[in-house]
Symmetry: D5
Subunit: 165 residues, 10 copies
Amino acid sequence: MITMSKSREEEVHLLGNQNVEYKMDYDPAILEAFENRHQGRDYFVKFNCPEFTSLCPKTGQPDFATIYISYIPGEKMVESKSLKLYLFSFRNHGDFHEDCMNTIMDDLIKLMGPRYIEVWGKFTPRGGISIDPYVNYGQPGTKYEKMAEHRMMNHDMYPETIDHR
Amino acid sequence: MITMSKSREEEVHLLGNQNVEYKMDYDPAILEAFENRHQGRDYFVKFNCPEFTSLCPKTGQPDFATIYISYIPGEKMVESKSLKLYLFSFRNHGDFHEDCMNTIMDDLIKLMGPRYIEVWGKFTPRGGISIDPYVNYGQPGTKYEKMAEHRMMNHDMYPETIDHR
Amino acid sequence: MITMSKSREEEVHLLGNQNVEYKMDYDPAILEAFENRHQGRDYFVKFNCPEFTSLCPKTGQPDFATIYISYIPGEKMVESKSLKLYLFSFRNHGDFHEDCMNTIMDDLIKLMGPRYIEVWGKFTPRGGISIDPYVNYGQPGTKYEKMAEHRMMNHDMYPETIDHR
Amino acid sequence: MITMSKSREEEVHLLGNQNVEYKMDYDPAILEAFENRHQGRDYFVKFNCPEFTSLCPKTGQPDFATIYISYIPGEKMVESKSLKLYLFSFRNHGDFHEDCMNTIMDDLIKLMGPRYIEVWGKFTPRGGISIDPYVNYGQPGTKYEKMAEHRMMNHDMYPETIDHR
Amino acid sequence: MITMSKSREEEVHLLGNQNVEYKMDYDPAILEAFENRHQGRDYFVKFNCPEFTSLCPKTGQPDFATIYISYIPGEKMVESKSLKLYLFSFRNHGDFHEDCMNTIMDDLIKLMGPRYIEVWGKFTPRGGISIDPYVNYGQPGTKYEKMAEHRMMNHDMYPETIDHR
Amino acid sequence: MITMSKSREEEVHLLGNQNVEYKMDYDPAILEAFENRHQGRDYFVKFNCPEFTSLCPKTGQPDFATIYISYIPGEKMVESKSLKLYLFSFRNHGDFHEDCMNTIMDDLIKLMGPRYIEVWGKFTPRGGISIDPYVNYGQPGTKYEKMAEHRMMNHDMYPETIDHR
Amino acid sequence: MITMSKSREEEVHLLGNQNVEYKMDYDPAILEAFENRHQGRDYFVKFNCPEFTSLCPKTGQPDFATIYISYIPGEKMVESKSLKLYLFSFRNHGDFHEDCMNTIMDDLIKLMGPRYIEVWGKFTPRGGISIDPYVNYGQPGTKYEKMAEHRMMNHDMYPETIDHR
Amino acid sequence: MITMSKSREEEVHLLGNQNVEYKMDYDPAILEAFENRHQGRDYFVKFNCPEFTSLCPKTGQPDFATIYISYIPGEKMVESKSLKLYLFSFRNHGDFHEDCMNTIMDDLIKLMGPRYIEVWGKFTPRGGISIDPYVNYGQPGTKYEKMAEHRMMNHDMYPETIDHR
Amino acid sequence: MITMSKSREEEVHLLGNQNVEYKMDYDPAILEAFENRHQGRDYFVKFNCPEFTSLCPKTGQPDFATIYISYIPGEKMVESKSLKLYLFSFRNHGDFHEDCMNTIMDDLIKLMGPRYIEVWGKFTPRGGISIDPYVNYGQPGTKYEKMAEHRMMNHDMYPETIDHR
Amino acid sequence: MITMSKSREEEVHLLGNQNVEYKMDYDPAILEAFENRHQGRDYFVKFNCPEFTSLCPKTGQPDFATIYISYIPGEKMVESKSLKLYLFSFRNHGDFHEDCMNTIMDDLIKLMGPRYIEVWGKFTPRGGISIDPYVNYGQPGTKYEKMAEHRMMNHDMYPETIDHR
Ligand SMILES: [Ca+2]
Ligand SMILES: [Ca+2]
Ligand SMILES: [Ca+2]
Ligand SMILES: [Ca+2]
Ligand SMILES: [Ca+2]
Ligand SMILES: [Ca+2]
Ligand SMILES: [Ca+2]
Ligand SMILES: [Ca+2]
Ligand SMILES: [Ca+2]
Ligand SMILES: [Ca+2]
Ligand SMILES: [Ca+2]
Ligand SMILES: [Ca+2]
Ligand SMILES: [Ca+2]
Ligand SMILES: [Ca+2]
Ligand SMILES: [Ca+2]
Ligand SMILES: [Ca+2]
């Protein structure tokens, strides 16, 4: 017999719903939010997303990346299945590496108003170079804004060893 | 011939006791504490728990995670075998990832009143995304509260490389 | 000053040609071949292709795999840029894991008539399981047919450690 | 627009069907098969299953393993979602390590009559020792029976380095 | 509710029995066997034992090793908890590396009469050199004797990289 | 159908332009810049460049390095294909390790006036020693100058393990 | 011909002395110190000790750990061979994980009065959980006391990935 | 005082000779051989060459590879410094991946007439695919010819995991 | 044609000079310096030196270490080939681990007067323990002195995992 | 109380004998043998020796290697401490890589007359290339001679990935 917490069930529509439509053009309207049950506490949620792919806007050839999204929720949280579908919507969309990362963070800020959020993309190489953009954000006028600045200042001082093999 | 320290023997009931019952529904009453013998000193104890499993409250399918629990004990410490049984009690319990982590930390705070504690869950992927919630806590009004804030601000700036293989 | 071997230049049209069209539906006609310059010798060429993606024919959700293609050429060899475009053409195509691998091998056999070929796909997980199909082929009636049987019999006796993280 | 191969759609009931029931007692009837579309060719399919858990029949404590299942299909193949649910049905079932592996292989042989199959479980440690059973099978009277004997004779001559950390 | 297979319960005395005595001098009488339930089939069971320690018979200083024991059972199998206690009995016993490995294999052959067995010890270094003995055995006059010879001939052709750090 | 952002298309000439000339003598004029679309935000872009090679100015023998370039853009950003060609122009150029790193950073500062930039080269060994120069820069008189000092002070406190194999 | 520094020779009795006695009960009197030759400078010495083993005081079963000891010496330093023998004396001694770490640090503080010291034990798992205690110390009333507090506050924010295999 | 074997000194001109000329166009005349001192025995010599670079004959862009050369010497052996200079001579030479490997092997066969030789190149990726050619050779009419066939038949059945990062 | 920067050529005598003498007794006079061309900027140079060996002053047995030397140059820099020969001069020299590290740093400070320098040795084990000394230095009365203190305070909080294999 | 096997004590003189002399010129007379106690059985003993160093006979500069020695003993076995001293005697000896390996194997064959033996050296790089010689031997006229040939034919078909970092 399974015991379950019921409170999130009405809010979230996608989880456990088979008839979803996989949209292949960029569409931020796919994102869904639900209420953060632990608003009295700061905590992190990280999404590891190794299946991101978009198209190069100049050549049309596919780009691939692993994206790491970490945030401290405010009142709302992003539902994970809707995030999956949202990221999937970049599949046939053309945009540059750093623009994708900025767009994803902007859409998530608009959706849930997080206290803090960061998005890091690590792309596969083209022509012997791979590119890894990193963006972050803290609510303006709060300690989270300082947190964003602090993490930007200390970002990636130990770059992972890359040899493209 | 084995020489042993005897002082903890009366307090702890589970270690070396074969007739334990494995409860399969969430039950915080399983947790047992004993007295910290080194209260004059701050020190860390970390539990590595790669065998955590619970159920998705929407679909009923099993979730798997490795959980890292680190704390600086106050007057009491959690007995490790009772912790094992407690974590086992999530086996047939349905709850979301971030709710499990918050619940575990809340139960351990209630049990032992630690100076500082943090709980980090790293789940296996569903639909191409894996989720890693992180919560922490320091005794309000003490330096440990600042410590919690400091560690939250600097949390996971080097996300491990994840490719779901 | 760059010294170059000229003999392959007329045969191959794609390499160094910018105006390629990225087709997003499966199309084996994209594949191009050129003549093997070392036909008097058996040798292997392996392609490592970590950017393969197709769609699940039932749910429409994207699948991702790394594909390893190894072959001993006969009279013809597959041009690598055309191979890239061919694999790209699965991007919006729906097919099951093992069917993709069989299709890729069949198309390459038809294109170049290799002495020996094998195709191994390693997919990212869905629902806690990942699937890795492996197919191979040797020219019927030759020692390469026996080679295929030998390699099938000894295939993957040391499966790589997989934990989906 | 997505192009799909249609032929397997009627046979398989589970994939893309949300209303599945997660059974928590061992039940081989969960397994579903579909027809192998490439019966004229030997090929391998491997399932990586890092989320297997059962119970110790003596102590009732949970066991955890990663299971690797590899087979060469005959006329039928096991549907992967039904395999997931089947493995899940061991969750509250008590059986010894090597018995679980034998049972899983026997059930899959009965379901699909594979040409060749092997099952390798790698369990987490108890009391300083971890246990890894390996079973295999080839159709009696065929070359696959010899293949099974050959692979047993050469099994795991390079045991992976294990330190239980 | 837990479903269990009952047949092994009477045979095995140690598992789930708390009042075991940890003997610290070498004692092969600790080993217990139970009946192999799958005698109609060849299969492997491997024990990974990273907690082996004995004493140097000349200097008295402790030696440490990881031991890998793999075997194909005949009529009997070694009970894993008794194996743990048996290995523990080397703790204050003095013997050379290669003698320990030969002794362990001899004791297990005497206990269970396996079809095939091998024991590989990998010791920590002393004075800049580490030593790894490997012994194996197949029932004389059977195919398993040939199997032992085959595996000895092909043993460890890819020695793991060792730098003592 | 591919949807694309158009705004950068006119600025960048190299991407998608086949008729580039690979210059083999150091030439900073190759570098091209385009406008940063997200000037209201600090963010990092990192280039992983494992294919850097130059010549030793004393012996003429080739040197090889992996170079990591990370920067926070100001008004301009370096176009990645022009960066590739620029780095390629060191191929037949003779300069010492640390001079190469200083030159690359100086050229990129002159090109785009970044808020912050750092360049780290990790060279292959000669005569049993490998050399890794690291340089950084922040706009004088801004917080980025302090950032550079902060990152220099905390640089590489965990040197990667190197054994030249 | 070997040139040597002679000054430490009289102080240290164990190094190069074969007739040492390996005591198997905990005995801090084994520890020997010698004078720090570089007292005008702060520097670290770290001991990596992967061969630590003690006994569980409740069950008598052996525990295994790797211990990392790091310190900034004051006037005295611990002689490494005596440290080896001291750690060996826990072999047949029963004590809990965190008590062992506290005892080791206390004994080393008493022996040499270090400016700063820390001891980190990483134990092998029991019942699916492994435990890693960490203790540290700085001379009271000095900057090293603050250093200890600083390092405790920032301890282990990137727990190593543990899967007990 | 250094004791040395003198016999090879007259034959080899490059080792310890500073005034070498680094030729940047392909030139097999650079290769030097010396006499094999152990002709009564088969043994392998492997060269690991991670610093190979050539040019793409179509685009002129640089290619990079790690090359592994293994051989059983006959009467002659290749001098390692001359091999280094020879490989360096591909630096500004344009040739396809598989042609480079065939050329290198042919030149070494002509130089030293080895009993057996193999050359394996592993290139960095272009456009999401990396290519690894493998060639081998055994003296015709000898057991080494069969050896070459045997190794070709069993070549690379465990392709290394490649993700181009 | 090779283009080279000429300015360092007169200063450095060792690079490209074959007639060097390998001294086998410790000799700091081997070290050579040249002028730092980038004195207006702080930057790091790191030397990875995995081939360090000296002798134990008590037993005469050889010690082996990897040494990491990192520094911010002032007016002078150490020439890398002279550093190689200097480190080689410890080959038959007897000194304790921590004394070697202090000596190396002292000699380099005397040679070049760096702004900041640190030396970290990681030795292979003896008797089950390995030892890693770390020393650093900043110019007294400058910010680099504070930098040294800061880096000492934060030194090695994540000790690498060591198991001596 | 330590229980020990006594039989080897009289034969071996070095183990536990402090007054050994470390010879620094090549001297095979250092090697000592003792009787194999398990002559009725084939088994392997492997020595991992990561601390080998010799001198280049042309330039006098030090060479470093990890050596792997594996053998099946006949009537005699090499005593490990004498092996350590023997390998140490190459420290100031000049010889080429492949000559060292042949010499070591020849000396061990002469010492103990093994049934089978192999020696594999893996050297650190010079000038961008590292060299790994491999030699083996089986008693002429026995199955071990065939074993040597078999292992030579199948040697190192999966060369370890080398990048000299
Ligand atoms: Ca890599
Ligand atoms: Ca992974
Ligand atoms: Ca893992
Ligand atoms: Ca993994
Ligand atoms: Ca491990
Ligand atoms: Ca290493
Ligand atoms: Ca190692
Ligand atoms: Ca390395
Ligand atoms: Ca692990
Ligand atoms: Ca592991
Ligand atoms: Ca990967
Ligand atoms: Ca990789
Ligand atoms: Ca380990
Ligand atoms: Ca290690
Ligand atoms: Ca690498
Ligand atoms: Ca490497």
